[in-house]
Amino acid sequence: MDSSATTMVDPQSIPIDQIDVSDPKLYQEDAHWPLFERLRREDPVHYCADSAYGAYWSVTRYEDIVAVDSNHKIFSAHHAVMLDDGRHSGQTEDATVMLPFLAMDPPEHDKQRKIVTPAMSPANIAKLEATIRRRVQEVLDMLPIGAEFDWVPTVSIELTAQMLATLVNYPLKDRHQLVRWSDVSVGIPGDGVIDSWEQRDQELKLFAQTFLALREERRAAPPTSDLISLLAHSPEAQDMSIQDYISNVILLIVGGNDTTRNSMSGSILALHDHPEEWAKLNANPALIESMVPEIIRFQTPLIYMGRRATQDVELGGKLIRKGDKVAMWYISGNRDSEAIEHADRFIIDRPRPRQHLSFGFGIHRCVGNRLAEMQLRILWEEILKKGWKRIEVTGPVRRAYSNNIRGIVSLPVRIHA
């Protein structure tokens, strides 16, 4: 798909009805900002009649996004969280169908969500804190001082891979397999991760086989607190189909992987771009608490979530028809200056920093949000203990080709001790 046309247009003069914010290239080039600014101002509930994924509505203002996200009866998630319909079902005969509870409506959604919730509760994740902290220390201790290296593989990917292995109790030495599967499951041909849909479907098949075997292993052993053991032993999960089980494992792995990884990378970039905030943080490490949600707002790791209207409904003066696709652009709502003061700036001590859209709202609100916050908090607590003068971004930032995950692929840095 050649889409360079979209990113070359002048965002101010393009006729409003031609604006299509679904082009992955926009996010790879970080070129989406002026388009959303214009939509929020001129056409906050915006209809795009023709895109690579067909017609869809864009919801771009903070308040409207909260309204859609918290109204699951009218805005259904069923098969609708991605604009690209083909992603759940796969593209070939061999495909592993992915329909996690993220993409379900009540009552089935609630039933499955309740199975994994205990593992993510504040009390349970507190048990992981010491392990995570030790691993963060080990990774930071290895970093070169004064020499350039890429923060993404060395720190962000490494730490999230270890975290995933802990969550599902997977052999630590094989952790990069988990990362590969996560990357593949959200991959699109041409993004540098996969070359074809056939390749994606084949790799995910191996994933499914591996995790079905793991479930049998866990069933044969006494229950522990890892997620696979939970799914293997929970009485409510006994009648879970193979498809549901596999879908939920991939949901937990993807959910916990890219989002946290990119928040880690994004925090380094944000502090490089806002040296005054780095100074504030160094003077007062207690600001980590309000900085963590600000990092997650500023990065907005998931660019949008999709829904489908179950009936005709009016929103922002527009009539959305039953069956229409609707995208809630968190990336836009998080920069809506009507809802958030100086929304374009990264401010680590803003009042009520937790009021952002990055975790979504309503019944699908991110179940891993406390775990993600804990990882970022520990990372920053340990970085500050190092007493480094600064972490400088030394080269060009490379971003992911995706309209779904706001990814940082490469971030060259140098630590000044």
Binding site: D110, T117, P122, Q355
Partner: protein, 106 residues
């Protein structure tokens, strides 16, 4: 101006609040720890979960079954006296109300 009490991890916080605002707003304005209120009171995040002192349940009343209860049910540590503080509108009748705040929101 009802005066209400929050108890979090054994510490009591007495808060005087204008009637009409929610218990979530009252807690945030007074800096009571343990209530996050991430959605700003839209009944969409459940990070303002509190337990109403059972003696006060008749005054405060139950959660709305169609909206608030759905969000409460997805939380951890749910009890019959669970409410979302943003959906509890303070009135003069609630003078002396006692709300127990969980150790951490989810």
């Amino acid at each position: 101006m009802p005066k209400i009490r929050f108890v979090q991890q054994g510490t009591e916080y007495a808060v005087e609040a204008p009637d009409g605002i929610s218990a979530m707003e009252a807690a945030l304005n007074a800096g009571v720890p343990g209530i996050d209120g991430d959605c700003g009171g839209q009944c969409a995040c459940a990070t303002c979960h509190v337990y109403v002192d059972p003696a006060w349940m008749p005054v405060v009343g139950p959660a709305d079954a169609d909206t608030e209860q759905l969000m409460i049910d997805l939380n951890e540590g749910v009890q019959a006296n669970s409410r979302l503080a943003c959906q509890v509108q303070l009135t003069d009748e609630m003078n002396g109300l006692l709300l127990l705040v969980p150790d951490a929101q989810f």
